[in-house]
């Protein structure tokens, strides 16, 4: 209602504005003419105004009453009434609001006529006196003639034209002369008023702002009321109350009008009209919103009962037992340990949520101590308040252990120490088992190379090479029998004793042929002269300062062997070909220090293990095939499965990684079972076994079955930990090798022992 009323008031104000000039004039007239009248208003107008208003109101009411009586044109009456009342209100407001601005509006335009406060001669009160206004042209700005009469149009329409509009006579008003930029600048400098002038659009000239305008700007800048005459702190004017204004008599002695207590007739008529219209159906009420949803009320028992079985009744709470009694028998009372255990378990884990307690009388039973907590929890439940609920995992720890076949079903594997061969002093770094699985060669740090039987452990022959033995490796050939011993900068080829004649001859012809091929390379020398010891038939002199050969590995055909030297400056990888007596370095430059190399058992591939990565090269095409990333900080050992598809890599950081070469560059499985650095790994050539040895002095035997079916993952089962080597100087078992035809393991330890482990 209030909003509607406001709207109507505005509309009326608009209407009134159309009539404004006259009223303004009327309003302005007394201001302009009679100063005394103003003073009268100030001094006596209160009573007058009040009288006038009350009179008007009094006059209006009968009018309304009269109209309400008439039946004929009610709607228009309504409107008129609204308008009229609106008019009245508007008039009042207008008057009260506009009184000050009207009086000031003139002073806005002109320079403010300064009011003087003088003592009135008549009343004796101080009063403002404004200077007299001469009613000539200068007094009214509205009469000032504007040379340009184009009106309020965008002046840029005249931008291209020489004139800027037309005067009252229709003659062109020419564009005032404008200097160039320099002139204008000079003007701004010379003219002290230039900074207070603004462009007048109509005349296209700069006009100095009047002091009043400047004052308005100043007030706006300060955020004050732009009206200079507005005083926000006007003194209170006592109109009706206060001293001397006490009303002794009521304002009006008129009796209370009847309309105050009689029901309104025209209201009744209005309502009756609506009632009639409703009865006649002219007014239709809005449809109920839930009309389509069916009946609002329905009998819930009318539906046929469902065929489903009724829900199960809630289980009856079990009856209280003796333990819940206030005075239970002795045997129900918990002991001290039971009580402690109950208190230490979580409430959710407790078997029962109370502790039997004994009271001699029921009146001694205290209040339920859980009452508030339970009530609180119940309310949290009702409010669906989320709470942290501990989820209990009832997982049998045994079910998390992967299902592996039992080691006893994976026999045979080595499980006991059959015999021990001891190098009297010095660590045994390397060991090798002959291809027929009958002989073992072991070399120690003192340069002693021993050949002994796997089965008896009796040394058959010994060679003293006077230099630390870094590696020994038996040639995989069956028609020839010899082994390589790597010492400082040298590789010695040694023929074992007691060979059949045919084998001996073929060995000799391989290692020391009658016709030597021409010597091609200078850096690696091959020498067949009988060396330091009996049986050393061939010696390869590696480049000097290449250091101790860390590893020698044979190609499966036994013609090529690769050696890795320990010096890291020169790469140290050499591939030697026995039939041509030729050595070559396969890598000119290689990233990282090479730890190990391996020949693929079937393909012409070459595995190079650097400190972090294992790179696989194709020797035939001479390119890198793939790089295996074991994630080991320092690779110590590596071996390839006899099928050639799987590689195990061990590191000094205890990890053993199994790679499926078909699968991924990342390890298929990482085993961290050793407590110290892994030293050596070896796959059994025939049995599905592999072994790892470590600095913790233990050897671990794994079952590593590889399926020809590509879909089946390799099966790795840890079988046995063999302990028997002592750790000396932080070094444990330095090398393990399998006997080729039996599930027997030969291990060389830093304690100088070589142990044969049998199944």
């Amino acid at each position: 209602m209030a909003a509607a009323k406001r709207d109507t008031v505005r509309a009326v104000q608009k209407k009134r504005k159309e009539r404004d000039p006259e009223e303004d004039q009327k309003d302005a007239f007394p201001e302009a003419v009679g100063l005394e009248m103003m003073s009268d208003e100030e001094s006596h107008g209160g009573e007058d105004d009040g009288d006038v208003e009350s009179d008007e109101e009094v006059d209006q009411f009968p009018e309304i009453d009269a109209r309400s009586d008439s039946d004929s044109d009610e709607e228009s009456n309504w409107d008129e009434e609204g308008e009229d009342s609106g008019d009245d209100d508007g008039d009042e407001e207008k008057r009260t609001l506009a009184s000050a601005p009207d009086s000031d509006s003139g002073s806005d335009i002109h320079m403010f006529p300064k009011a003087k406060t003088i003592i009135s001669e008549v009343t004796g009160h101080p009063k403002r006196v404004y200077p007299e206004i001469e009613p000539d042209y200068e007094s009214d700005s509205s009469t000032e003639d504007d040379p340009n009469r184009v009106g309020d149009i965008p002046m840029h329409w005249y931008d291209d034209l020489p004139h800027i509009g037309y005067d009252i006579n229709g003659k062109r008003v020419l564009r005032p002369a404008k200097g160039n930029e320099l002139d204008r600048f000079l003007e701004t400098v010379e003219d002290p008023n230039s900074w207070t002038s603004a462009l007048d659009k109509n005349t296209q000239m700069d006009k100095p702002l009047s002091p009043g305008e400047l004052d308005i700007i100043r007030r706006l800048q300060l955020g004050e009321n732009p009206d200079a005459g507005y005083d926000p702190y006007e003194p209170t004017v006592e109109w009706f109350t206060g001293k001397g204004k006490e009303e002794v008599m009521p304002l009006s002695g008129a009796p209370e009008p009847k309309r105050r207590w009689l029901p309104s007739k025209w209201e009744k008529q209005k309502i009756m009209k609506i009632v009639r219209a409703i009865r006649l159906g002219r007014i239709v009420g809005s449809k109920p919103t839930t009309a389509g949803d069916g009946p609002r009320f329905f009998a819930i028992w009318n539906e046929p009962s469902s065929t489903q079985p009724p829900p199960l009744p809630a289980p009856k709470p079990s009856l209280p037992t003796h333990a819940e009694s206030y005075n239970p028998p002795e045997e129900y009372l918990p002991t001290e340990t039971e009580r402690k255990e109950w208190e230490n378990t979580d409430p959710e884990d407790r078997e029962r949520n109370y502790l039997p307690q004994r009271y001699s009388a029921l009146r001694l039973v205290p209040a339920y101590d859980q009452f508030i907590k339970q009530r609180f929890n119940r309310q949290l439940d009702l409010y669906l308040a989320p709470r942290i609920q501990r989820t209990r995992l009832n997982i049998d720890p045994n079910s998390l252990i992967p299902k592996l076949p039992s080691p006893s079903s994976l026999r045979p594997f080595p499980n006991y120490r059959s015999l021990k061969y001891t190098h009297t002093n010095g660590q045994v770094r390397c060991v090798s088992v002959s291809p027929d699985g009958a002989w073992v060669v072991s070399g120690d740090d003192n340069g002693i190379v021993s050949l002994w039987e796997v089965n008896v452990g009796h040394e058959v022959k010994r060679w003293a090479l006077n230099s630390k033995v870094g590696t020994v490796e038996w040639c995989p050939r069956t028609d020839a029998s010899y082994f390589v011993v790597g010492t400082e900068d040298k590789l010695h080829f040694i023929i074992p004793p007691n060979l059949p004649l045919a084998v001996l001859r073929s060995t000799q012809s391989t290692l020391a042929p009658a016709t030597l091929p021409p010597v091609t390379q200078a850096s690696v020398k091959w020498s067949s002269t009988p060396g330091i010891e009996d049986g050393v038939i061939l010696t390869i002199f590696l480049p000097p300062t290449s250091g101790l050969p860390r590893q020698v590995t044979w190609h499966r055909k036994g013609d090529y062997l690769a050696s890795v030297s320990s010096s890291e400056s020169q790469g140290g990888v050499w591939i030697h070909q026995l039939s041509r007596r030729h050595s070559q370095a396969p890598f000119k430059k290689i990233k990282g220090a090479v730890q190990l190399v391996l020949f693929h058992p079937i393909k012409p591939h070459f595995f190079v293990a650097t400190q972090r990565y294992v790179r696989v090269y194709n020797l035939a095409e001479q390119k890198l095939i793939k790089t295996l990333m074991p994630g080991i900080k320092w690779i110590s050992s590596m071996d390839i499965h006899p099928s050639g598809d799987h590689v195990i890599v061990g590191g000094y950081d205890k990890k053993l990684c199994w790679f499926d070469l078909e699968l991924n560059d990342k390890p298929y499985k990482v085993l961290r079972y050793h407590t110290r650095a892994i030293r050596s790994l070896h796959f059994h050539p025939t049995y599905p076994l592999f072994a790892s040895s470590s600095d913790d002095g233990s050897i671990q035997i794994f079952h590593g079955r590889v399926y020809s079916d590509l879909m089946t993952d390799p099966l790795i089962v840890p079988l046995k930990i063999l302990r028997g080597h002592n750790v000396s100087d932080g070094l444990g078992v330095l090398q393990v090798k399998w006997a080729s035809k039996q599930p027997w393991l030969v291990s060389a330890g830093a304690d100088g022992n070589v142990i044969v482990w049998c199944s």
């Binding site: 059959s418 015999l419 007691n498 001859r505």
Partner: protein, 452 residues
């Protein structure tokens, strides 16, 4: 007898049986439950009223009684009322060390078949002959490589005072050597012949009881069957180009060079190293062999056909012995067991038992396996076959086949620090050869003592 009344406390009905000469009348005894072997032995002694007490051991359900009878009964859950049958035999006296024969190198094989002598073969390639008073009678450098096995070839018509010895070696040959037993013989030893067949080191050599045939087993999967005759000419041509070997072996005149023999038959069936080949104790046609392929094979040597194969999974065998009656074969294997095979049973693939060792049993010998005809002592019927095994832990064990769970007796050679590689036994003398040389032990065996 009078001892049927129980002397108070619980007792158990027992019947005593024996296969020894000390037999009791079959009668039920009520034996107190707290009795042990000692009381039982005293009971038997008293019952027989022997002048000199003979200790007995008691065998209950195939197990030697070590505890009291009551403990045994509760352990086995034997019924209180059931009559228990207890077999008794003369107990084995604790073995005693008699002599030691130090060697420079390991002794790979020992034979006690020459009366009053020990024949040893060592890894330094020598065959040595000792008499019982620890004197080395002969030192024969028979081979340049380690000798792995030695055996005496019993020759009926041999020159008196000398024996023919066959030895097998790592140098791929076996030799026949005649060794004179007389201390000041003109020709202390003579190399008779060398046997050339194998291309790998030989593991064993054995002769039959008559001394006319030999068997060699080798790492090259072959078994050679040889006659023991000395040929007049070389049967195998000298390998040319092997100058080194000829120089070392021959050295002197051509006539002194041993004749080179060829095998009669080669037995091929093994798929791995053959570790032992033996003749059947009573026959020259039948032979047994065992090898790393986990099989025991029976051969008809004349036709060279493998007649039977006993195969056990994953048990590479190191040594083989046949009981004197030829019914049972024993094979030691690297899985620390000695398997017992019943050769008579139709299902040959099954073992009748195993003797479990704590270490690798490298050698075993069955009492009276290789009888020496020159030994006059009559063989007792194989009533109580006893077996001596030597293991890598340096302990020789005496087993009774009736009780396979525990060894009857055991003794430590060289204080148990060195490996035993060979054992041989004649009578109560057990020769143990191994890493520390040779030790000779006396193992008391009651019935044999009595039989003499």
């Amino acid at each position: 007898m009078a001892s049927t009344s129980a002397p108070g406390g619980a007792s158990h009905p027992v019947i005593f049986t024996t296969e020894s000469p000390y037999s009791l009348p079959s009668q039920k005894f009520m034996i107190p439950l707290d009795w042990k072997r000692y009381q039982l032995s005293q009971l038997v002694n008293k019952a027989l009223s022997l002048a000199k007490p003979v200790p007995f051991d008691f065998l209950v359900h195939g197990e030697i009684l070590r505890t009291s009878l009551g403990e045994w009964r509760t352990e086995k859950g034997f019924g209180e009322e059931d009559t228990l049958e207890i077999e008794y035999f003369e107990s084995v006296l604790p073995p005693q060390r008699m002599t030691t024969l130090p060697h420079k190198d390991w002794v790979s094989s020992i034979s006690c078949r020459i009366p009053q002598h020990f024949l040893t073969a060592a890894y330094d390639g020598h065959i040595r002959l000792f008499d019982y008073s620890q004197n080395m009678v002969r030192d024969v450098p028979a081979h340049l490589a380690p000798v792995t096995s030695v055996c005496v070839v019993p020759s009926q018509g041999s020159i008196d005072g000398s024996v023919v010895v066959a030895s097998a070696s790592h140098d791929l040959t076996a030799t026949l050597t005649r060794i004179s037993l007389e201390p000041d013989a003109m020709e202390p030893y003579q190399a008779l012949a060398s046997l050339h067949l194998h291309t790998s080191p030989l593991s064993s050599i054995a002769s039959d009881h008559s001394g006319s045939y030999l068997l060699t087993a080798s790492w090259d999967h072959l078994i050679g069957f040889w006659d023991a005759k000395i040929p007049l000419e070389d049967e195998v041509a000298v390998e040319t180009g092997d100058r080194k070997k000829r120089r070392k072996v021959g050295g002197g005149a051509e006539a002194e060079r041993p004749k080179r023999k060829a095998p009669v038959t080669v037995l091929k069936s093994h798929t791995a190293r053959v570790s032992q080949a033996l003749f059947d104790p009573g026959s020259t046609r039948k032979a047994y062999s065992c090898g790393f392929d986990s099989t025991v094979r029976t051969w008809d040597v004349e036709s060279g056909v493998c007649m039977d194969t006993i195969s056990v999974p994953e048990r590479p065998m190191l040594d083989l012995a046949i009981t004197p009656d030829g019914n049972t074969a024993l094979a030691s294997s690297t899985d620390r067991t000695v398997s017992v095979f019943d050769l008579r049973s139709p299902s040959l693939s099954s073992t009748t038992g195993t003797l479990v060792h704590p270490s690798t049993p490298s050698c075993l010998v069955c009492s009276g396996t290789r009888p020496n005809p020159s030994n006059d002592a009559p063989l007792t019927p194989a009533s109580a076959p006893q077996i001596v095994t030597g293991a890598y832990d340096g302990i020789a064990r005496l087993w009774d086949l009736r009780s396979m769970k525990n060894a009857v007796a055991s003794f430590k050679a060289w204080d148990g620090t060195m490996k035993i590689l060979s054992v041989d036994r004649v009578g109560e003398v057990v020769g143990v050869g191994g890493e520390g040389g040779v030790e000779v032990w006396r193992v008391g065996q009651g019935d044999r003592v009595l039989a003499k």
